[in-house]
């Protein structure tokens, strides 16, 4: 590709300067300076698949604190007791979220009465049944939610996050 592009470029120059086609090859070789290599990197963050808990660890409507994608990113698993579109597990009712408030990074706490994660910082509240939708608050994102998978043994794995985590410019550091 690279080579091809340059030849097109060279061709354009030829045309503009009116140099004859016979010298094109020579010009091309003199125009190719020492090539440096770019650094390849993927377009998306590569998330680890981490085992966070087993189904037997979870009680309905009680927070089970975890961290993902690494130990410095606190989060929570909740078995809501009702099926939700983003729910995992046999009852499609298990969800997982970051518990670092995406506004200014204060720690969220779970309020079982209305299944929300609430922030003591500036009163932001997130709805765990609605994919972490901000109910009220000052964050410009909804709450980062985990992509969860439950295997045959009932082990719950997180395999990704759908929003940027507070305090890092790459979700995987």
């Amino acid at each position: 590709m690279k080579r091809c592009d340059r030849l097109v470029d060279v061709g354009r120059r030829q045309f503009l300067t009116g140099v004859s086609a016979a010298t094109a090859g020579i010009t091309a070789s003199t125009m190719l300076p020492s090539e440096s290599r770019g650094t390849p990197s993927s377009a998306l963050v590569r998330y680890p698949a981490n085992r966070l808990a087993n189904l037997s660890d979870l009680k309905v409507n009680a927070p089970f604190y975890v961290s993902y994608p690494d130990a410095n990113a606190p989060g929570v698993l909740i078995k809501l007791g009702v099926r939700v579109p983003t729910g995992a597990g046999p009852e499609y009712d298990i969800v997982g979220f970051s518990t670092t408030c995406p506004h200014k990074g204060f720690p969220l706490s779970y309020r079982s009465a209305d299944k929300t994660l609430d922030c003591p910082g500036h009163y932001s509240r997130f709805d765990c049944e609605k994919g972490g939708q901000q109910i009220w608050g000052q964050s410009t994102q909804n709450l980062p939610q985990y992509a969860l998978r439950v295997d045959d043994k009932g082990d719950i794995y997180a395999e990704g996050v759908d929003e940027l985590l507070y305090g890092r410019l790459s979700n995987v550091l």
Binding site: V45, Y47, H103, K104, W136, Q138, T140, D162, R168
Partner: protein, 665 residues
């Protein structure tokens, strides 16, 4: 289900990114931000020397960190024709917000025009004219020639009273000192337009005439006063939602009791405690809830009065505190007139107030005690009165506003630390115009006159009557009918035949039609009725100065290009004036044409120097260079001078090349 961006990574601001001062244009608080821009091909790195923060970004940053930004704070925009990354994030060093961003301001980047990322593509990019039955893009010269010719023709037939104007008068986006001066010089300088209204009301009047008539400007304290008050009285304002970071950064510390040391430092031996708050609002708002969380229920008194009964409550308080002798006699004697007759005229018993407002007598008395009962040892209680639309747009605005100011004056709370009787405000301010005295009082009820068929040409600047007038349905019907008459007439003329076009338009105007010109940044409802649309630039696409709710003036520096051919409003006004002058000279009206001289501005800075710098109190001390050097903290108006020390520091070190006023001191 919740919207998710699926963004797991953002470009890192490189160490050499350009940094610009930004003041959030979304509300009156005017939080400080910084915009960082750099070439679209690059990003910084995680190593401390590779990023703007100088920290190791390969580790988790803590709460309240400066070294993080949300996806909403990022975009890809044009700067001088080149693609650049932009990050607009709250500025920790700004005393207004101390690094806090709200759900509005923290989205400034995402709410910018970006063709690369498809944000805000509804922005107007080109002048548009009604041509062969639809709006079509054209050049500035073509659009403005048409505007000038029709406007001049209307003036020739109807005088300047035939020119109707709707124009923003505020700061922040769609306003600011540059742009109010541009429009002001055009309509109050070159012309003397009296049929003019403001962005959110159908006439050219104040929302708070009463306080102004009493000699008390409505922005008469500092945000810091909210940290110093013994009691805050909040009337018809929901500050947590509508002045978010003012509430979070200045009310909350006082409600929590964390500003007590500041109070001690300021007031010496005077007894101080955490703040108590009286909230007058028929609704229980999130503000009330937050106050209870921070200060404890025992320090919050929410008075859910019957809607529209504020006046009687305020007068009952005045009566009660005067009866108790909890008034500042020396202050009253020195700063007011006819206090006794005001007291007599406004006398209301607690019982009567309770009956009308529906608030228990005990609560009304308790609030009066919180407001004015002397503190231990006899020190005057410091009360700060804050009000907004709940009072302003309630019934009997003038007298209700006056009653609140009476109470503040009686208790000695104007112009004193921990006091004030202030509007909370909506947008920032940025008013600089030649005198509007010719408009008179009461000001013309512009929307009613438009319904009645008055006026021949209507210039609209960042206003949308269809959404902001009384009796909107009737307005819309009448307006559509009148502007349709002109549209139909325009469709009969060949577009290229300018004189035939103007004749057709004038013919329709004589029959009751209206020619409408709309200047805005996005398509509006009333814009659908207009014949010419002119695309304006907004904050950050131009340099723009405004002041916030504590009169703190700052410069938002231009960090990106306006979309397409869009221009700052002040320059649009100047170009209209240039075309008016040309058209008037062409038709031999030399004297009239002369009125339109003095609009040679090339940049918004020219407009600033012609307006604010030359005409506002202390303006001679204020220049872009100085504002730039003062950053997001700026200064609190009015400018009273520049201290020697500051002068040498600012002028000699930072601004050696551009000093129009070397002798200022």
């Amino acid at each position: 289900m919740a919207y998710k961006r699926q963004i797991g990574r953002l470009p890192i601001i490189p160490a050499n990114a350009k940094e610009h001062n930004v003041v959030c244009h979304y509300c009156i608080v005017g939080c400080g931000y910084k915009a960082y821009t750099w070439d679209a091909r690059y990003e910084g790195g995680t190593a401390p020397d590779e990023n703007k923060f100088g920290v190791d970004l390969s580790t988790q940053q803590g709460a309240d960190t400066e070294a993080w930004y949300a996806p909403a704070m990022y975009n890809l925009v044009k700067q001088n024709g080149h693609d650049v990354h932009v990050v607009i994030k709250p500025d920790k060093n700004c005393v207004v917000n101390s690094g806090l961003g709200s759900v509005r301001g923290a989205r400034m980047a995402e709410m910018s025009y970006s063709r690369a990322r498809n944000t805000q593509l509804r922005r107007l990019t080109d002048p548009m004219v009604w041509r062969y039955g639809q709006m079509q893009p054209t050049s500035w010269d073509d659009a403005l020639d048409l505007v000038a010719r029709v406007t001049a023709a209307v003036i020739a037939e109807q005088g300047e009273d035939g020119v109707f104007v709707s124009a923003f008068d505020h700061g922040g986006a769609g306003g600011g000192y540059e742009n109010t001066w541009g429009t002001g010089k055009l309509y109050f300088g070159a012309m003397k337009v009296k049929n003019i209204r403001i962005h959110n009301r159908p006439a050219y009047n104040s929302e708070v005439h009463a306080t102004r008539d009493m000699g008390v400007g409505e922005l008469n304290n500092c945000y810091e006063d909210a940290e110093l008050a013994d009691t805050i009285v909040a009337v018809g304002t929901n500050a947590l939602e509508t002045q978010t970071n003012y509430f979070l950064n200045h009310w909350v510390p006082n409600l929590r009791g964390t500003s007590i040391n500041k109070k001690k430092a300021e007031f010496g031996n005077e007894p101080v405690d955490r703040c108590r708050i009286v909230i007058v609002d028929p609704r229980r708002t999130v503000t009330t809830n937050a106050c209870e969380v921070e200060a404890g229920k025992e320090n919050v008194l929410h008075l859910a009065l019957n809607s529209g009964t504020d006046l009687i409550l305020l007068n009952a308080w005045l009566t009660y505190v005067a009866d108790k002798g909890w008034i500042d006699k020396a202050f009253i004697a020195a700063s007011t007139r006819d206090f006794d007759s005001a007291l007599a005229a406004n006398k209301v018993s607690i019982d009567e107030a309770s009956r009308v407002t529906g608030i228990p007598s005990g609560d009304i008395i308790k609030a009066a005690e919180w407001i004015a009962q002397p503190k231990h040892g006899g020190a005057r209680r410091r009360a700060m009165f804050a009000y907004e639309k709940g009072l302003i747009w309630g019934n009997d605005n003038y007298r209700t506003n006056g009653a609140l100011v009476n109470l503040a004056l009686a208790t000695g709370n104007i112009g004193r630390p921990g006091g004030g009787c202030v509007r909370m405000g909506g947008h920032q301010e940025g008013y600089s115009r030649p005198s509007d005295a010719h408009v008179g009082r009461p000001a013309a009820y512009v929307d009613k006159l438009l319904i009645e068929g008055k006026g021949g040409v209507h210039h609209i600047w960042g206003c949308d009557h269809y959404k902001t007038t009384l009796n909107a349905l009737q307005f819309k019907q009448a307006y559509k009918k009148r502007t349709d008459m002109v549209k139909d007439a325009m469709s009969t003329a060949t577009y290229g035949d300018r004189s035939a076009m103007v004749n057709a338009i004038m013919d329709a105007i004589r029959k009751g039609g209206l020619f409408a010109v709309d200047v805005d940044i996005v398509p509006t409802k009333i814009g659908e009725a207009c014949h010419v649309l002119l695309p304006a630039a907004t904050s950050g696409e131009m340099n723009l100065t405004s002041m916030n709710g504590e009169r703190r003036m700052r410069l938002t520096e231009r960090y990106m290009d306006p979309p397409g051919q869009a221009m700052p409003d002040c320059l649009i006004a100047a170009r209209i004036a240039n075309h008016m002058e040309r058209v008037l000279r062409e038709t031999g009206k030399e004297q009239l044409a002369d009125n339109f001289r003095g609009f040679g501005w090339k940049t918004e800075e020219d407009a600033f120097m012609d307006g604010y710098h030359k005409h506002e109190k202390g303006g001679e001390f204020v220049t872009y260079a100085r504002l730039r050097a003062m950053g997001t903290n700026g200064f609190q108006e009015p400018a009273v001078g520049i201290e020697r020390l500051l002068l040498s520091k600012l002028d000699l070190e930072h601004l050696p090349q551009r000093l129009p006023d070397q002798n200022a001191s």
